[in-house]
């Protein structure tokens, strides 16, 4: 369930990130604190953008950094941060980004259900606006608790 992943430990609002790398580090650290990933995975998420490009900016204003499970992923995890000042990843269609969702998955398909739920929430413009303007963690958790 998405609600098991998106919780008080994995959500932060009004984050100050100085650039896209910083945003990934902050989001990644929330997963690292939960013990799901290590520093190696955070570095891999950043390296992936440098190597392949800003394809992880999946919709206007929304990035979903992730990397290969072989970089020490111990479980399914998702963190969500919203930024005070949007950052640029270099994606011509979807920059600037103010919602960053770091994802870790152990293998293909084990996160299909959670991503389906995420799509339901973020496919709705009004939800996206509410997430962007939320000032408390609870406000964001409330939006996600309404899924289904």
């Amino acid at each position: 369930m998405l609600n098991d992943l998106i919780n008080e430990n994995t959500v932060r609002t009004n984050v100050n990130a100085k650039d896209w790398e910083d945003a990934i580090r902050i989001g990644g650290n929330l997963l690292k604190k939960s013990g799901i990933i290590g520093q190696e995975y955070i570095d891999a998420m950043i390296q992936s953008v440098k190597d392949i490009g800003p394809y992880i900016v999946l919709a206007p204003g929304i990035a979903m950094p992730h990397a290969n499970p072989r970089f020490g992923v111990k479980g399914l995890g998702m963190s969500l941060i919203t930024l005070n000042t949007p950052v640029y990843f270099g994606n011509k269609d979807n920059d600037p980004v103010s919602i960053v969702i770091c994802l870790s998955a152990t293998k293909n398909n084990d996160h299909l259900k959670e991503l389906s739920e995420l799509v339901k929430v973020l496919g709705n413009d009004s939800n996206v606006q509410q997430i962007k303007s939320a000032t408390t963690i609870k406000a964001i958790l409330d939006i996600f608790s309404n899924v289904n």
Partner: protein, 99 residues
């Protein structure tokens, strides 16, 4: 039967989200389908009717017939993917493909 690969560098993120949408769209159109996610490296030698992917992989897919590729920029809104997939299915049907 329409065989589709949703492709991204890892086969975990955008491809997984695309798969969720594409399956639902094809089911709604009544097109029998098999939709699989794939990393860019794993489609070599595979048979397929359509690839759904991101612009960043354009160069890596140069060897593939451009008619078989759909590029997506917004993965959370179903509307962009739906419009492009519906167009492609109509094209295939007009060319005599029984799907």
């Amino acid at each position: 039967m329409l065989k589709v690969f949703t492709v991204c560098p890892q086969g975990l993120g955008s491809s997984m989200i695309a798969k969720i949408h594409v399956r639902a769209i094809l089911d709604k159109l009544g097109v029998e389908n098999e939709v699989e996610t794939a990393g860019i490296a794993s489609i070599v030698g595979e048979n397929f009717d359509l690839i759904i992917t991101i612009e960043e992989l354009k160069d890596s897919l140069k060897h593939i017939d451009p008619q078989k590729i759909i590029f997506i920029t917004n993965f959370f809104k179903k509307s962009e993917i739906e419009k492009k997939v519906v167009e492609k299915v109509e094209e295939l049907r007009q060319s005599g493909r029984d799907i």
